[in-house]
């Protein structure tokens, strides 16, 4: 066992997979000599060389496109978006090229690649360094969408993503990068994609969440114990494919559901989960499904604005109390 940060766990995952499999390589802006804007690939250039740690020009579309081309030739590229906000510049390559290749080849082609990078707010990054865009990709068949909440999961899920034979969009919440420290096993392990985790067991109310909001929800669950409210927190870990079984089993047990996410409320993935609960667990629900999310705005810069924008522990606690009383 050893102690590691969320970021360190990600670095370990990439490094170990590169040592294990020579077809794995990384490319992105400043990932080489500099080791990445957040130092995720620190030391890799020295260890693996310029052929496997490729510093790219500022060309998100080409970064993703080059990764796709290498993937269809049997390599396993890991493309870094310096900030996941910039993924919009590579959007066409992801949704029209990477996601559709296998379909267009009648199942005779695979695109084993990962697009990863720092996502999310609460770091005063402003409009273009704070977005949570995971929902954009959940509507695209052919992609997998992953967003870990713990260092253990970050490592295991990233390793699973690198070994997966499909394009995986891997969102790393930058708020967690250095704030999360955990003791994780030394051995090689993976966390399978598509399996949610019960972060905290409970019987009165289910909170479904992912990414940095998992920490907020666990804090809220602790506070709610004082109200004698026993909250179950589900960390989705993977948004696509979605682990419906874990969600439905929990809600059938607690009969109350709340979805907490950092993306803007409208059109967020919480809406999809609420719809699934309405369709498949309606008779088990004792109250309407509630969403706690960011407000419908852009992620603002000034601290009071950003505080207002993001869901916080108080919001979650208050909504949970209301939901429990319904």
């Amino acid at each position: 066992m050893h102690e590691v940060t969320f970021l360190g766990a990600i670095r370990e995952a990439i490094g170990e997979e590169m040592r294990r499999d020579p077809s794995v390589f990384v490319l992105g802006e400043d990932v080489g000599v500099y080791g990445g804007a957040f130092k995720v690939t620190d030391g890799f250039y020295k260890e693996f060389g310029a052929q496997r740690v490729i510093d790219t020009p500022i060309s998100e579309s080409a970064i993703v496109g080059v990764a796709i081309g290498a993937a269809i030739k049997g390599m396993r590229p890991i493309a870094e978006m310096q900030f996941m906000d910039f993924i919009s510049c590579g959007f066409d390559q992801i949704v029209n090229e990477a996601a559709t290749y296998r379909y267009r080849y009648g199942g005779n082609l695979s695109v084993p690649m990962v697009v990863r990078g720092p996502s999310g707010g609460n770091v005063h990054g402003g409009l273009f360094h704070s977005q949570s865009r995971e929902a954009w990709f959940t509507q695209v068949a052919g992609l997998k969408v992953v967003m870990p909440a713990t260092a253990y999961d970050a490592k295991g899920l990233l390793k699973a993503s690198i070994r997966d034979n499909n394009p995986v969009i891997f969102f790393e919440h930058k708020y967690l990068y250095r704030r999360v420290k955990e003791t994780i096993p030394d051995d090689d392990y993976i966390v399978p994609l598509g399996k949610a985790r019960i972060a905290s067991e409970g019987t009165d109310l289910t909170i479904i969440t992912w990414g940095a909001m998992v920490q907020h929800c666990l804090s809220a669950a602790e506070l709610l114990e004082e109200d004698a409210l026993n909250v179950e927190v589900i960390d989705l870990r993977t948004l696509l494919p979605l682990d419906k079984t874990t969600i439905l089993e929990s809600v059938k047990k607690t009969n109350r559901a709340m979805i907490v996410y950092e993306a803007p409320r409208t059109g967020g993935y919480g809406g999809e989960i609420a719809a699934i609960l309405a369709e498949e667990a309606f008779e088990y629900l004792d109250a309407p499904v509630v969403r706690v999310a960011s407000v419908d705005a852009h992620v603002p810069f000034s601290p009071p604005l950003e505080k207002y924008y993001l869901p916080n522990v108080t919001d979650i606690v208050e909504s949970a109390r209301k939901l429990a009383k319904y």
Binding site: S61, Q93, Y105, K144
Partner: protein, 363 residues
């Protein structure tokens, strides 16, 4: 076994020649081969146009009529392990690279037996085993992918080359510039074939670019030139030089093939925005007519230059029959072929990566 074959094997390249370009022992064989492939593409596409008029084709039809010298001249001399990234007007490139006429026809006719199993039409599919990288409708989007495939081949210790096609209109897309910039930096083994057919749908060249199209390549450090795209020999020779240069690790070349789109953008387009005299002028420069006159002046007889060879007529007829007989897919197959849930090495994976030091990248 000659030295060249040995080298090719050692580098992990498949030694099979697709259409005989490199195997052509003589000038005479080369000319005959090019002539045959030009007619093969022409007859296939004309047959598709006819089927379309009969309502037997469901999707869009984008004729490459008049531009055959480009797909034939560029692909004819490639090896099996070389790759091509054709776009919508390059259905002929599929045939020359080695996809059977049956499969291409089934693809167009939305059949279950098609390479995409009916998922999409036209050039949106491919076959990585024979080096065909399919495109989408987002033009120039396959160019960064061509760079990645070329760099991957190099990482795998192969000397395969990628020939990437694009229309002159696509040179305005960001992906064109991002791809060429990336390729230029890495000396990616890619040959960039611009098919300047004078129109982006209805938009003429002076509204597409303020500079000659090939000039754009110079900005990315590549030799760039414009050639007569209706002269198949020029296209063949220029491409092969560029391919060998790329194979030697010296990087890409931008080749603007100046040609003309004889039909509308698609079969739905009457192309009334064009001057009839302009079309007639280009009709005289038909690539097949030109090669034919050259061959007649160089020792070939009329009997040796059928229009087209009976075997081509048979091949296309058989393709139509086979595709017509093939069933359409079952509707439920719409949810198949989305994910690959197998584990481990992808089955077509090329030889193990063999990273070599690339001097211009530093370490």
């Amino acid at each position: 076994m000659d030295v060249k074959t040995n080298a090719s094997r050692r580098k992990g390249g498949a030694d099979e020649r697709v259409s005989g370009g490199e195997a052509a022992q003589s000038r005479r064989e080369l000319l005959a081969g090019l002539y045959y492939q030009l007619w093969r593409v022409r007859h296939f596409e004309d047959s598709v146009a006819r089927l379309n008029k009969q309502g037997k084709i469901l999707g869009g039809v984008y004729s490459g009529r008049g531009q055959e010298a480009i797909v034939v001249g560029t692909v004819f001399g490639l090896r099996r392990d070389d790759m091509i990234a054709p776009v919508h007007r390059d259905i002929g490139a599929f045939l020359v690279k080695g996809m059977s006429a049956r499969l291409v026809m089934a693809q167009i006719m939305a059949r279950e037996s098609a390479p995409s199993r009916g998922k999409d039409s036209w050039t949106h599919t491919g076959d990585i085993e024979i080096g065909i990288i399919g495109s989408t409708s987002m033009l120039a989007s396959s160019m960064p992918i061509a760079v990645g495939a070329g760099l991957a081949a190099r990482m795998q210790g192969m000397d395969s080359v990628v020939v990437s096609f694009f229309g002159e209109g696509s040179t305005a897309r960001g992906d064109f510039h991002e791809a060429l910039n990336f390729a230029g930096i890495h000396k990616a083994p890619c040959v960039w074939v611009c098919e300047n057919n004078q129109y982006a749908y209805s938009t003429p060249t002076h509204l597409e670019s303020p500079v000659p199209f090939y000039k754009r390549g110079e900005a990315y450090g590549m030799p760039s030139l414009a050639i007569d795209g209706n002269d198949v020999l020029t296209v063949y020779e220029t491409t092969m030089q560029a391919v060998e240069r790329a194979r030697r690790g010296e990087g890409g070349t931008v080749i603007e093939c100046v040609t003309y789109r004889m039909e509308g953008h698609s079969e739905a387009d009457q192309a009334t925005y064009r001057d009839r005299a302009e079309v007639e002028e280009w009709r005289k420069k038909d690539p097949i007519l030109r090669l034919r006159s050259h061959m007649l002046a160089n020792g070939f007889t009329e009997e040796e230059l059928p229009e087209p060879a009976p075997s081509i007529i048979d091949e296309v007829r058989d393709a139509i029959d086979w595709a017509t007989r093939s069933p359409l897919p079952d509707g439920r197959q719409a949810v198949e072929d989305i994910y690959d849930e197998s584990a481990g090495v992808t089955h077509w994976a090329s030889p193990y990566p063999n990273y070599v030091r690339i001097p211009w990248l530093g370490r």
